[in-house]
């Protein structure tokens, strides 16, 4: 894993070229090419099956593309920069039998986070949860689980955040707080991708709304209303 200071300066944080992903005969991504600038918040929108989650998983290095390349922080070797990546999936990626703090302590070890207890408590507080909560995650409400999952994604202070449906099953107030946290992270220089069906939550917060359809990016605009009107 390369430390951030050793990475070459890049004009785009993420760039994808001719990305194709096929599952058998079904093409989930059909030649996606795009550049994403650093320090911006991108909302990825589209109907079910448009390829949003597949694109996010390809960026995370979880789904190897059938064709095309993904370049992240100036390298196509995603393994070398995975320490600079935060990933939140639709499932929580947490162990139900352990408390939030226990979960985060374990993941902090995987990322070699310094002062891990302090950092874990900080990110748990940042998502408005209590680090001293001893209840196992399996007994959390769905909304609490989502927030703890976001805390896990933020744990390693990543340069790039990939979030799949972070607001699903979260009440409006908590979702707005999550958006505030994300805009703060964006302002601090992180590049953030949010796949969501609740685009209105990101109105005024996202720098660009990226619309996907049938495995392709069909529009990119800073104006949500314009995006939705043309769809």
């Amino acid at each position: 894993m390369l430390p951030v200071s050793d990475l070459p300066p890049v004009s785009s944080a993420v760039s994808v070229t001719g990305l194709v992903k096929q599952f058998g005969r079904f093409a989930a991504l059909r030649g996606v090419s795009a550049e994403f600038a650093p320090g911006r918040l991108y909302a990825i929108l589209g109907d079910n099956g448009a390829g949003k989650t597949t694109l996010l998983r390809a960026l995370a290095g979880l789904t190897p593309p059938t064709r095309g390349t993904v370049s992240m922080l100036g390298t196509t070797d995603l393994r070398s920069v995975c320490g600079q990546l935060g990933y939140m999936a639709h499932p929580s990626l947490l162990y139900d039998e352990m408390s939030g703090m226990e979960n985060l302590r374990y993941f902090a070890r995987l990322y070699d986070v310094a002062d891990s207890d302090l950092r874990c408590a900080d990110v748990i507080r940042a998502v408005k949860l209590d680090p001293s909560l001893t209840r196992p995650v399996g007994q959390y409400s769905q909304g609490m689980r989502q927030r703890m999952s976001l805390a896990r994604a933020l744990l390693n202070d990543p340069k790039i955040l990939l979030l799949d449906e972070p607001f699903s099953n979260v009440d409006v107030r908590s979702a707005q707080e999550m958006v505030k946290l994300l805009t703060g992270s964006r302002d601090a220089g992180k590049t953030i991708f949010v796949v969501t069906h609740q685009a209105s939550l990101l109105e005024g917060a996202a720098d660009e709304f990226v619309w996907m359809e049938a495995g392709q990016i069909v529009s990119r605009t800073p104006d949500l209303r314009a995006t939705l009107e043309t769809r």
Binding site: P64, S92, E97
Partner: protein
């Protein structure tokens, strides 16, 4: 910087904690082995001499089947909430995860053996006529052979539709040389009729080869879709 050793310890501690809280693997293994001991004991009602001859096979077959239960559990835990993806996107080396799982399964099966061995002795009226000190060596090497292959093939069959069936189909054929060595070594020690040395060396060689091969290949298995 975290090393493979420290990440293995962290993952092992996490797995032991999860098992302590859920007791999924150990309860199923215990129940299964207990059934095997009792059913075989009532079915055959062997004399002490016959017991010594068949016990090696019986004990290891019981542990092999019971281990499959634990091996399936170990990865099922990682698939719940897709936690395995959290490991896959982290910079942690795949080998740390694999070693932790193997050591964890080794501990579970060893605990099972410690609990079941007295029952085997009582039900089958067993006593060793050969060098009994070799039995723990055979047990350790045999258990390692089962869990190292079992953990690897359980990971391989993770994404298949019927992984509970797939694991024995992959594991049992490749375990035949190890199983043969375990059974022969145990029988040799119990009967005292021949030396177990050759079978112990074979088992050690098998462990070495399959541990190295699994460590080498696990990264590909983990990153496979």
């Amino acid at each position: 910087m975290s090393t493979v050793g420290s990440l293995t310890r962290a993952t092992l501690a996490k797995d032991l904690r999860l098992e302590w809280r859920s007791k999924d693997a150990i309860n199923s293994m215990l129940f299964f082995s207990l059934l095997v001991v009792v059913i075989f004991s009532f079915s055959f009602d062997p004399t002490a001499e016959e017991s010594r001859r068949i016990a090696g096979g019986l004990v290891w077959v019981a542990f092999l089947f019971a281990a499959v239960v634990a091996l399936n559990q170990t990865w099922a835990r990682e698939m719940r909430n897709q936690v395995l993806d959290a490991y896959r996107v982290s910079p942690a080396p795949p080998n740390a995860l694999f070693l932790a799982k193997v050591i964890g399964n080794f501990i579970f099966v060893t605990v099972l053996q410690a609990l079941m061995t007295p029952l085997f002795i009582v039900f089958y009226n067993l006593s060793a006529l050969g060098p009994a000190y070799q039995l723990p060596i055979v047990a350790a090497l045999g258990t390692w052979a089962l869990v190292v292959n079992g953990t690897f093939f359980a990971a391989m069959s993770l994404r298949t539709r019927s992984r509970e069936i797939m694991l024995p189909l992959l594991l049992f054929p490749i375990s035949i040389p190890a199983l043969l060595a375990m059974v022969e070594a145990t029988s040799a020690i119990l009967t005292g009729e021949y030396s177990a040395r050759f079978w112990i060396v074979l088992l050690a060689a098998y462990d070495l080869v399959f541990t190295i091969a699994s460590l080498f290949l696990f990264g590909f298995v983990l990153q496979a879709e």
